[in-house]
């Protein structure tokens, strides 16, 4: 009897130990192999060969997984999935392959990429924004795609250089633009006795105060501090931060938000809140566009493509609201890229797919039917006739993309949460910046 139970416990222990090892071993295996993979591909590239990998089994229908985020609005005529499915059909026929498209919602976007890209169901070709790049490049999960493009093709891409990150061409910029601009409900401004869109911080403040006085029920400047995701910083913080001449990180990747410029911007924001230019309800708002559409907010910062969806309000915009940095003031612009994952088995085909997706033909249709964005290639002739047509040509020096650095998402999240606390009156501007910097250096880096 005793012996049996001993055997049982021994067996149990052995089983646990075994599966423990199995769990660790196998989970680390794909990572190391992908690291080796990237090393191999980088040597090939230095040798100057183009097509690095031979297409796997070109006879069979190859399979690619493509992950893209949603762009279409609820009131749009077509859904993202329908659009891409339609567009990919000719590509699939031509290359005898199947491309399965997965629309990854913005909610939990980063989590889905982490869990997906490290498992079997992840994307071959995906879509990353600047905040996400560092870990994926640093851990060798992305392919340097430079060798798949001819010089001519590269020249055709207006923003090819933006995909050159941490010493390699890891991204192919696909959505560049969507600068965040200040839009104003001109009818409401007029009621407050203001005729023109504010173009400096002082004017923004005085307009806000005038609005507050004339229209107590309207939020002068609405901001979505109630948004659960730090992505709102692009609208509600970085335009101010860069208006004060701040830099997020220095050349070595050290965080430099806790500087005079950072303080100026943060204090200005706090002042707007204290004066009631930004209303108290901003801390629970998670959709400024609806407030703006409903006439509940007079001014908001918004992405240009979203601004164009607002049709029943008489609005105008200021491309840049100048802060202390004067004409060096900048605003946020997106630079989201297509990326190829190293685990992709058919890299030539994947590169072809990336080229196809960014081609003038697909992109112009995408801009026309799904989301209005500036063209990304020289041969894309589709130009939308709207208020922003000349914006890019005139102001491109004033647009700034986010830098790539270690655990950027963690930093932004911490900063966002601390700023929220500030807007609620629980923290002071200098505390926000110093605590975020400390926390980043000690816990996140």
């Amino acid at each position: 009897m005793k012996k049996f139970s001993k055997c049982l416990t021994l067996g149990l222990a052995a089983m646990m130990g075994g599966s423990l090892l199995a769990g660790c071993g196998s989970s680390s295996a794909p990572a190391s192999s992908s690291a080796a993979d990237s090393a191999a591909s980088s040597t090939e590239q230095s040798a100057g060969t183009t097509a690095a990998d031979s297409p796997a089994a070109s006879g069979d229908a190859a399979k690619l997984t493509l992950w893209l985020p949603p762009f279409a609005g609820t009131d749009g005529d077509i859904t993202d999935l329908d659009f891409w499915t339609e567009k990919l059909k000719p590509f699939e026929e031509e290359n005898n392959c199947t491309v399965s498209v997965e629309i990854t919602p913005w909610d939990g976007y980063e989590e889905k990429y982490l869990t997906g890209s490290t498992s079997d169901d992840g994307p071959d070709v995906g879509y990353l924004y600047m905040e996400m790049f560092y870990d994926y490049i640093n851990n060798g999960l992305l392919t340097d795609i430079d060798s798949y493009f001819t010089d001519e093709e590269k020249k055709n891409y207006t923003y090819y250089n933006l995909g050159s990150i941490l010493g390699g061409q890891y991204g192919l910029p696909i959505v560049v633009g969507n600068p965040r601009v200040l839009i104003c409900n001109m009818d409401l401004l007029k009621q407050a006795g203001v005729e023109k869109v504010p173009s400096t911080w002082d004017e923004l403040e005085s307009t806000g105060l005038a609005l507050k006085k004339a229209l107590p029920d309207v939020a002068p400047l609405m901001q979505d501090w109630g948004n659960p995701h730090y992505g709102s910083l692009n609208e509600i913080y970085w335009p101010f931060f860069w208006g004060a001449g701040g830099e997020i990180v220095d050349a070595d990747g050290n965080l430099t938000i806790d500087t005079d410029a950072g303080k100026t911007a943060t204090e200005y924001l706090k002042k707007l809140k204290d004066e009631g230019v930004i209303p108290d309800s901003a801390t629970s708002n998670d959709d400024t566009i609806t407030s703006f559409k409903n006439g509940e907010a007079a001014m908001i910062y918004v992405a240009t493509s979203n601004a164009l969806k607002i049709t029943d309000v008489n609005w105008d915009y200021a491309p840049i609201v100048q802060g202390p940095a004067g004409d060096q003031s900048k605003t946020f612009v997106a630079a989201d890229s297509l990326v190829m994952f190293n685990k992709c088995k058919n890299k030539d085909l994947a590169a072809k797919l990336m080229k196809y997706l960014t081609s003038a033909e697909v992109m112009s249709d995408f801009h026309k039917r799904v989301s209005q964005q500036p063209a990304i290639t020289a041969d894309d002739t589709y130009v939308s006739e709207d208020k922003f047509t000349n914006l890019f040509a005139d102001y491109s020096d004033h647009f700034q993309t986010l830098p790539v650095f270690a655990n950027a998402a963690g930093m932004y999240d911490t900063l966002f949460k601390n700023l929220q606390s500030m807007m609620l009156g629980d923290m002071q501007p200098d505390e926000v910046l110093s605590e975020t910097t400390d926390y980043y250096n000690n816990n996140l880096k």
Partner: protein, 284 residues
């Protein structure tokens, strides 16, 4: 005298309604209203195209099903609904089979180390699921089981069912099993034909309990599914939130879809639901 009168409370029937009990009645009714009102609000809002949370009667158009069409067509809610039903159904079934087998083994069979093993089962009850979430994710990943129904179902099975059924099985007389054995009934047939029918109430209880847990499960499906075709309703609904933050009609239609199935089930199986939870409380 009917059976109701045997229970506690019958005694007080003839007492007069005092101020205190009137107050209690008012509270009970008030709370019942608070319990149901959000769902009525949800149903009504799901028929509006409202972008404000404000509730306006004239905005409700019951013939307008566009919100429902939208979540079914564009957000894959139909697939998610099927996933949720499949996952919950399988969880209930397998949990009953596996837990009742184990409980039978523990209660009616003798083998060395039995009680120690049972202690281990009891101990695992103390572990919050989130503590083991990361390693389980890694195990599933290394076994290539992410994005499968297996992964979604298997985690619902836990020691609670075993403990619950074992408590109940103490009431199954050993004589009955021995009699069946003497009659030459094969071992597995005894479990199937004698034991299972006798523990039916507790199985119902476990089904209800598993149903509520599995239908509500959120964190694990959120982590383990990256394909939209594998999302359960809770995940699909949570993803609706940021995308259409203030499209209240749409959000409410999504909520309604996720609510209607368990609600209809509850309407039909009300007694089982309530008694199942009560039994799991008393025995577990």
């Amino acid at each position: 005298m009917n059976s109701q009168d045997l229970r506690y409370g019958a005694l007080h029937k003839k007492r007069k309604w005092t101020v205190v009990s009137m107050f209690g009645m008012a509270l009970a009714i008030l709370f019942a209203v608070i319990c149901i009102a959000p769902f009525i609000y949800m149903m009504l809002m799901s028929f509006t195209q409202s972008t404000t949370a404000m509730f306006r009667l004239n905005e409700i158009h019951f013939q307008d099903l566009s919100n429902y069409q939208y979540v079914f067509h564009n957000n894959g809610f139909f697939r998610s609904l099927l996933n949720s039903i499949l996952v919950t159904g399988c969880s209930c079934f397998f949990n009953c089979v596996i837990a009742s087998m184990a409980a039978y083994g523990f209660e009616k069979k003798e083998f060395p180390g039995k009680e120690k093993l049972y202690q281990l089962y009891l101990a695992t009850m103390m572990i919050p699921g989130q503590v083991t979430m990361i390693p389980i994710f890694l195990i599933m990943k290394s076994m290539h089981l992410l994005n499968t129904y297996f992964a979604l179902i298997v985690l619902i099975l836990n020691a609670f069912g075993v403990i619950l059924i074992r408590q109940f099985m103490k009431g199954v007389p050993d004589d009955l099993l021995e009699a069946a054995q003497v009659d030459g009934c094969p071992e597995f047939q005894i479990y199937l034909k004698v034991v299972l029918p006798l523990i039916r109430p507790v199985l119902v209880s476990l089904v209800i309990f598993t149903f509520v847990t599995s239908w509500n499960d959120f964190m694990w499906p959120l982590i383990s599914t990256s394909k939209s075709s594998m999302y359960t309703l809770t995940v699909a609904l949570s993803l609706l939130k940021t995308q259409y933050a203030t499209n209240y009609g749409l959000l409410m239609a999504g909520s309604a879809v996720s609510f209607v199935f368990p609600f209809v089930l509850y309407i039909f199986l009300q007694k089982q639901f309530v008694e199942g939870i009560a039994l799991s409380g008393i025995k577990g």
